[in-house]
Symmetry: C2
Subunit: 586 residues, 2 copies
C-alpha cells in the first residue's frame, strides 16, 4: 500500500533524504532559472496569443505540481515553443486573440490536456506516444520552428498579419510590409542580431577571456534578459510607444489568479483532438529531455508517472490563468547545469517567478513586443534542422517519406494536420513493409547443419523438398502473402512433395495467420504435398497446440531444420522404419 | 513484350490450348450454372434495391470480361449477397429505390469500384486487402448475413420497411407487421421451408435413392429454380397480384443495354469510400474462392491480375445496366463441380443468360417477390456462423475483440462502419502488441553455448553483464519500450558494466529504432556501461553499417552470443590481449 502510494507521489522518495547541501544547490539553480525564465515565459505567452502574464502564471503552479508528481530530478516545466504554437493554432478557430473567450479556451485546452495526460498515466497508455516516430518528430519540430519564426516576423516589422500555414502567413505579411514601423524594425533586428551574436559569438569570446564551464553557459543563456532590459530602457527613455512601437503595456501585479476553464461540451469537442496532439507532443518532448538528464546521473524516470506529473502541471495551469505546458529543453538543461539536485529546485523557481509576477511586472510596461519576438525567433531557429531529411534518405525511403510528408504538411496545412499525417504515414508504411515480409527459400550448407538462402549461398537442395524461411511474425497483413508464395512455388514445380516452413524468425502468430496455415495445409494436402514446420518458437507453438493445428498438419513439427530435411529426404527415398520416424519427429 | 502482354491477358494462355474436350465440358457446366444463376441474379438485384433485370445484366458482360482478364479457371462472376447489401447501403443516402437516380448511382458505384480495382491491380496494391483479417471478415460476413436476412423479412410479410441497421430494420418491421399480407406470407414461408428442406433434407434423400456426387449436388442447387417455377405458376393461376401479392411485373425483353454511369464529382465523392470498401470485400471473397478452386487442380491464380479481371467485370457492369459484382462462392463451386475447365465456361454462361434476358423474362412477370426473398434468406443464413467468436476467444483476446467489434458495429451501425471498425481495431491491436514486445533477459545454459530466458531456465549469468533478447523487429512503436527496459535494468543494478543486445529475432530496423540504439549507446556510455550487439541479421547489419552506428558503438558486434559473453567476461576479468580481442570481434 505504502509503496504504491509512493509510486504516485515521487516527492515522498526524494523528500525524505533532503538535506542542507541539496537545498543550497537547488536554490542557486532556481535563481538562475528564474532570471532566464522571465523573458521566455513572456515570449511564449505572446506566441500562444495570450497576454504576457499568462506566461508567468503558466510557470508557477505547474512547476510546483510537477515537483510533487514528476519523476525527473531536473525537468523544468512551463510554456515551450512548439506547444505554444500548437495552442495558438488550436484556438485560432475558436475565438479572436485578446478576447476573454480566447483566454478561457486556453485554460480549457490546458485542463483537457491535463486530464488526458493523467488518464494515460493511470491507465499506463504512455506507449501511445511511441507512434510518434523519431523522424516524424524531427520533421515536425523543424517545420514548427519555421512556422513559429515566420509568425513572429510581424512583430519585428510592427504590422499585423495572420494565418496558420506558411503560405497564408507569407501572403498576409507581404500585404502588410508597406506599413512597417521603422523603429520597431530597428529594435527587432537589433535584438535578433544581438541574440544571435550571444549564441554564436559570446561563448568563444568568454572562452578567450578564460571563462569556461557552467558560468559561461549561464551568461550565454542570460542574453535575452540583457536585451529585455536594454530595449525596455530605450522604449521608456525615448517614449517609443508614442512613435508607434508596440509595447507590452500594463501587466497586473498579482499572484496567479484562480481561474475556471469552460466545461461547455461544444468547446470541449472542438478542443479534444488538439488537446490530444498537444499532450502527445508535449509528453514525447518532455520525456526525451528528462531521460537524457536522468541518464547523466544514472537515475531513472518512470514514463507513466511522468504522464501524471505533466497532467497535474497542466491541470494546475488551467486553474491558475495559464495555458498548456510541458517540460522544456533549454530551461531543464540550465536547471541541470546550474546544479539542481531535486524537484525542489523547481519549487524555488516557482517562488522566484511568483515574486516576479508580484513585484517586477511594472518594469516590463515599456518592453517592446519586437524584443520578445526576437527572443522567440532566435530560440526556435535552433530547432530547425533539415539534416533529418538527408539522414532518413540514406537510411530508408519509408522513413524519408514520413519526414518529408510531415514537414510539407505542417508547413502548408498547419501543425495538427502535419503531425497527424506523419503518424498516419509511418504506421501505413510500417504495415506495408511487414505485409510483404522477406521469404527466403533455403538449402543446407554442405558439410554443416546450417540452412541459408539459396540465392545467396551454394547450398544443397532436394527436388522434392522446398524449405521456406519467413523473416517476420505471421499476422493478418502478411499471412496471405505467405500463402501466395507457397502456392506459387508449388504450382511452378510439380516435383515438390514436401514444404517445410522454417519458423525460427516467427515471434508471434495471430488467428488470421493460423487460418492461413490451415488453408495452406489443406490445399497442399489436395495437391498431395505435405507441410512441415521446423524450429517453432515457444509462444507460437503454444498457440498452435491450443488451436489443435498440429493434429491437422499433414506433416510434422521438427525441433531443428536439419531433422526436418533429413526426415523429408527419407520419406522420398522410401518409407522410414517406425523407429527412424520416431527418432526424427522429436 | 509478348510475355508481359500475356500477363494482362490470361486468355492468350489458355485460349491457345483450347480443344473439343474442354469445349464440351465448358458447355455442360455453363448450362447448369445458367439455370442456377437466373433466380439468384433476380434475387440479388432485389437485395441491391434494383429492378430484377439488373441482376441478369450484371451477370452477362462482367462474366465475359472476367473470362478475358481473370486468372481463375472456374470463378463465376456476378452479383453476390454481401456486395449487393453493401450496394444498397451505399445508395440509401443518395437516391430512393426505384428512381432513375438510384439506378445511375448503382452504375457509378460499379464503375468507380472497377476503376479502383484496376488501379490496384496495375499498381500491384492487392496487399491492401490483407488488412482485412480473417476474423474480421468472418465477423463481417456473419453480421451481413443477419442484416440481409432481416432486410428480406418485409418481402415475406408483404409490407414495406426500411433501415440500414438491425435496430432500425426491426423497429420499422414491427410497425408494419399489422399490414402483413397473409397470402404473401404463405408463399414466402412455404418457399423458405421448401428451400431449407432442399438444403438439409433432399441430399440425404437422394443418397438413399442411390444418387450421389455431382448430379445430386446440382439437383440441390436447382431448388430455387423449382420454387421460382412453382410460385410463379401459383401467382399466375390464382391471379395473386389482385390479392395484394407483390410480383416482379414487366421486365424488359432485351440484351443488356448500353448505359452511362454519372461522372458528377459530388456523386463520386459520396461513393468513393463505399466503392473502396466494396472493392476490398469483393476482392477478398473472390480471391479466396478462386484460390480454393485453383488449389484443387494445382493451378495458380495471380491476385494482382485478379484485381484487373474483377475491375474489368465491374466496369462492364457499369456500362451495361448492372451494379457491383464479384466472384461468388456458390456459383463458382457449381461451375467447378459441373466440370468447367476454362473461363470459356463463363462466356457460355453469359450467352445462356443473354438468351434468358431476351426470351425468358416474360415468364417471370408473375414471380412473387416473396419467392426471391426466400431464396436470399436461405442462401445467406449459411453465411451466419458465430463459431468464429468461440474460436477467436480461445485463440487470442485481441482477435476476439476485433471480431466482436465488427459484428456489433455492422449490426448496429451498418456495413461500412462495421468493416471499417474491424480493420481499424485489428491494426491498432496489432500495433499495440508489437509496441510491447517480449524482452527476455538470458543466461547461458551450463555446458552449452545456448542462451535462454533466466526466468524459465537454470542458467549462468555474470553480475557485470546483462544480456537482453528482443523478440521482435525494432521499429518506432517499440524502440522506446526497449530504451525504458534497458535503462530500468541498468539503473536498478549498479554492478552492470556490459549490456549485450541479442538480436537474433530482429528481422528489421527503422530510423527511429536506430536513433534509439544510438541514444541507448550514448546514455549507457555516460553511465560507464558498454553496449554490445550479437547475432545481428544481414539486413539489419547492412542498415547499421550504412548509418555508421558501428563506429559509435561503445562495445562490439559479435557473430554469436557465446563469443559476446566470453568477451564481456574477459573484459571484467582484466584487459584482453590485442590478439584475443581481435579473435573475439569477428
Amino acid at each position: 500500500m505504502n509503496r504504491s502510494f509512493a509510486r504516485y507521489l515521487p516527492i515522498l522518495t526524494w523528500g525524505r533524504a533532503y538535506n542542507r547541501a541539496a537545498l543550497t544547490n537547488d536554490v542557486i539553480a532556481a535563481i538562475i532559472v528564474t532570471i532566464m525564465l522571465i523573458p521566455q515565459s513572456l515570449a511564449y505567452a505572446l506566441l500562444a496569443g495570450l497576454p504576457p502574464e499568462a506566461g508567468l502564471y503558466a510557470s508557477i503552479v505547474p512547476i510546483m505540481l510537477y515537483a510533487v508528481f514528476g519523476t525527473s530530478r531536473a525537468l523544468a516545466v512551463g510554456p515551450v515553443a512548439v506547444v505554444s504554437l500548437m495552442t495558438a493554432a488550436a484556438l485560432s478557430n475558436i475565438a479572436a486573440q485578446g478576447t476573454m473567450g480566447y483566454a478561457v479556451a486556453a485554460l480549457s485546452l490546458a485542463g483537457l490536456s491535463g486530464i488526458i495526460l493523467v488518464a494515460m498515466g493511470v491507465f499506463r497508455l504512455g506507449f501511445v506516444a511511441n507512434f510518434l516516430s523519431h523522424p516524424v518528430i524531427a520533421g515536425f519540430i523543424t517545420a514548427s520552428g519555421i512556422l513559429i519564426a515566420a509568425s513572429q516576423i510581424k512583430h519585428i516589422l510592427g504590422v499585423s498579419a495572420d494565418g496558420h500555414s506558411l503560405v497564408e502567413l507569407i501572403v498576409d505579411l507581404l500585404r502588410h510590409v508597406p506599413q512597417t514601423n521603422p523603429i520597431t524594425l530597428a529594435i527587432g533586428l537589433g535584438a535578433t542580431a544581438f541574440l544571435f551574436w550571444v549564441r554564436k559569438g559570446l561563448k568563444p569570446l568568454l572562452h578567450r577571456l578564460g571563462l569556461r564551464g557552467t558560468l559561461a553557459d549561464v551568461l550565454v543563456k542570460l542574453g535575452p534578459v540583457v536585451v529585455v532590459f536594454a530595449t525596455t530602457y530605450l522604449a521608456w527613455a525615448f517614449d517609443l510607444a508614442e512613435r508607434g512601437v508596440k509595447i507590452v503595456g500594463a501587466v497586473p501585479q498579482s499572484l496567479p489568479p484562480f481561474t475556471m476553464p469552460s466545461v461547455s461540451p461544444d468547446l470541449i469537442m472542438q478542443l479534444l483532438v488538439p488537446a490530444f496532439l498537444i499532450s502527445l507532443i508535449g509528453f514525447v518532448e518532455s520525456v526525451s529531455v528528462a531521460q537524457t538528464l536522468a541518464a547523466k546521473k544514472r537515475q531513472r524516470i518512470d514514463p507513466d508517472q511522468e504522464l501524471i506529473g505533466l497532467g497535474a502541471a497542466n491541470i494546475g495551469a488551467a486553474l491558475t490563468g495559464g495555458f498548456p505546458v510541458t517540460g522544456g529543453f533549454s530551461r531543464s538543461v540550465v536547471n541541470f547545469d546550474a546544479g539542481a539536485e531535486t524537484p525542489a529546485a523547481g519549487a524555488f523557481t516557482a517562488i522566484g517567478l511568483a515574486i516576479a509576477a508580484l513585484v517586477l511586472t511594472p518594469l516590463i510596461y515599456f518592453l517592446p513586443t519586437a524584443t520578445l519576438a526576437a527572443t522567440i525567433i532566435v530560440a526556435v531557429l535552433s530547432l530547425v534542422d533539415f539534416s533529418i531529411l538527408k539522414r532518413s534518405w540514406q537510411f530508408s525511403k519509408a522513413d524519408f517519406a514520413a519526414v518529408l510528408a510531415t514537414i510539407i504538411i505542417t508547413l502548408l496545412a498547419g501543425v495538427e494536420a502535419g503531425v497527424s499525417a506523419g503518424v498516419g504515414l509511418s504506421i501505413l508504411l510500417h504495415l506495408y513493409k511487414s505485409s510483404k515480409p522477406h521469404v527466403a527459400e533455403v538449402g543446407r550448407v554442405p558439410g554443416t547443419e546450417h540452412f541459408r538462402n539459396i540465392l545467396r549461398h551454394e547450398v544443397i537442395t532436394d527436388p522434392h523438398v522446398v524449405t521456406l524461411r519467413l523473416d517476420e511474425s505471421l499476422y493478418f497483413a502478411n499471412a496471405r502473402y505467405l500463402e501466395d508464395k507457397i502456392y506459387d512455388r508449388v504450382a511452378r514445380d510439380k516435383a515438390v512433395r514436401h514444404v517445410i516452413l522454417l519458423c525460427s524468425a516467427m515471434n508471434d502468430i495471430d488467428l488470421s495467420a493460423l487460418e492461413s496455415l490451415e488453408m495452406i495445409n489443406a490445399r497442399l494436402h489436395e495437391m498431395d504435398v505435405r507441410l512441415h514446420l521446423s524450429e517453432v518458437k515457444g509462444p507460437v507453438m503454444d498457440r498452435l497446440m491450443k488451436a489443435h493445428f498440429l493434429s491437422e498438419l499433414s506433416g510434422k513439427v521438427f525441433l531443428s531444420q536439419f531433422e526436418a530435411a533429413q526426415f523429408a529426404k527419407g520419406q522420398n527415398a522410401g518409407p522410414l522404419s517406425e523407429a527412424q520416424a520416431e527418432r526424427c519427429a522429436t
